[in-house]
Amino acid sequence: MTGRRRVAITGAGTINALADSVPGTLAALTDGRVGIGPLEFVDVERLSIRIGGQVRGWATEGRFTRAQIALYDRATQFAMSASAQAVAQAGLTLTDVETLRAGVIMGSAGGGYTTIDDAYRTVYPQGKNRVHPFTIPRLMHNAAAAHMAMAHGFKGPSFTVSTACASSNHAMGLAFQMIQSGAAEVMLTGGSEATLCFGGIKAWEALRVLSPDGCRPFCATRNGLVQGEGAAVFVFEDWDRARLRGADILAEVAGFSMTSDAADIVVPDADGALRAMQGAMTQAGLSPADVGYINAHGTGTAINDRTEARAITTQFGAQLPLVSSTKSMHGHLLGATGAVEALACILALRDGIIAPTMGHREADPDCPVDCVPNEARRAQVGAALSNAFAFGGMNACLAFKRA
């Protein structure tokens, strides 16, 4: 630990099915509001799964210029909106020299998925012979990070991480390490995802893991995951720099660990999850008694929740922290999910409010955790973990501390 810099979160922004701001999202998480509902897009009637955590009433006019709209996939639009909020909250003013040590690391599982879907629709069923000239710069996975760097003039390390459903936890973990190691002073980081389109859901349908009626993590009646969309972006900043300029520190990023199951492409392994939590706690100097809350990966699939509960009970034994899955409200944002879920950790650390797991009907003996069913709870939390366990067996756990 010695010699490593500490990392502060000094800004946050989001757009998701619950709200288009951090205060709105925290209020929804506190109220246990479920943002999952009927999906609305072209050809939805050809799907057997028709629910999701969709961002409704999203207007591009007024938010972006015509030139930006031509260049921004929906996922980039979400990222731009969230990052503008985060930078504004942080009150960042960087000198020219400081911009060289400021970067962007974003997570995305699908990149410009709706751009791809639209382009394929154009050339296949519609039989046209050309697509929009910006199809490639819109769909590339690093588009959101690039536009964020441009908008805010961050000229240091910038890239996008794609590790399926762990993308944004990997992104935030790497941004954390970047500051910790001294390679950067300020990082914009998080995730953005917009895969709610015909092709996006159709492909998931084929895996037969989506729920037709709702996301009920850790509930005995759970029957699968529900996709969401949106973005969350944070300003990570060197702790001393943040303190010196009197920034309001939302939380400390205190530990990060990534592991690989090296076992199966879709079936999770409890050992990989366990090692990820242990690694993040060790780096943050946390014992089991110190951790008051875990924002679970908690997808609501039969196997994830059982495996994750086993990993948690193994690590924490009799000192089980409160565990909730906010996917029950905002859905599974794939490569952006860890970023939105970090907001629930901030809510726990800063406001002492544990966001509930909604939709809970019946306890599952295979998931013996207190999942804070259906109603938020007050608790003093000094440290929280955020889990993300991706297809591919790639796990990323972040540890946060109260500032």
Partner: protein, 90 residues
């Protein structure tokens, strides 16, 4: 009502292809769990059935017992496919 011979033969061909065995090795009583097929193989089997018979198989991997597809033995799979082919009126 059991499956007709043609349905049975086509289902067995799909199962054998996924289990990497000779169709002749599969009997109606063969249990699916003995074929060494993982969850991904199962998804592929359901996809192959849907493509081959042009039906939609109701099956959610999270609640395998809740749908209409009983994956216990070769015979239960064949019967389930036959029911899908015969439609709700049968």
């Amino acid at each position: 009502m059991g499956a007709n011979p043609e349905t049975t033969q086509r289902v067995i061909a799909i199962l054998a292809a996924q289990a990497l065995c000779d169709p002749a090795d599969l009997t109606p009583q063969t249990r699916i769990e003995t074929l060494g097929i993982d969850s991904m193989g199962l998804a592929e089997i359901l996809f192959a059935i849907e493509e081959d018979f042009d039906v939609a198989v109701p099956f959610n991997a999270n609640t395998p017992d809740a749908g209409g597809m009983d994956l216990t033995t070769v015979e239960t799979v064949c019967d389930a496919v036959q029911r899908l082919l015969d439609g709700p009126q049968a």
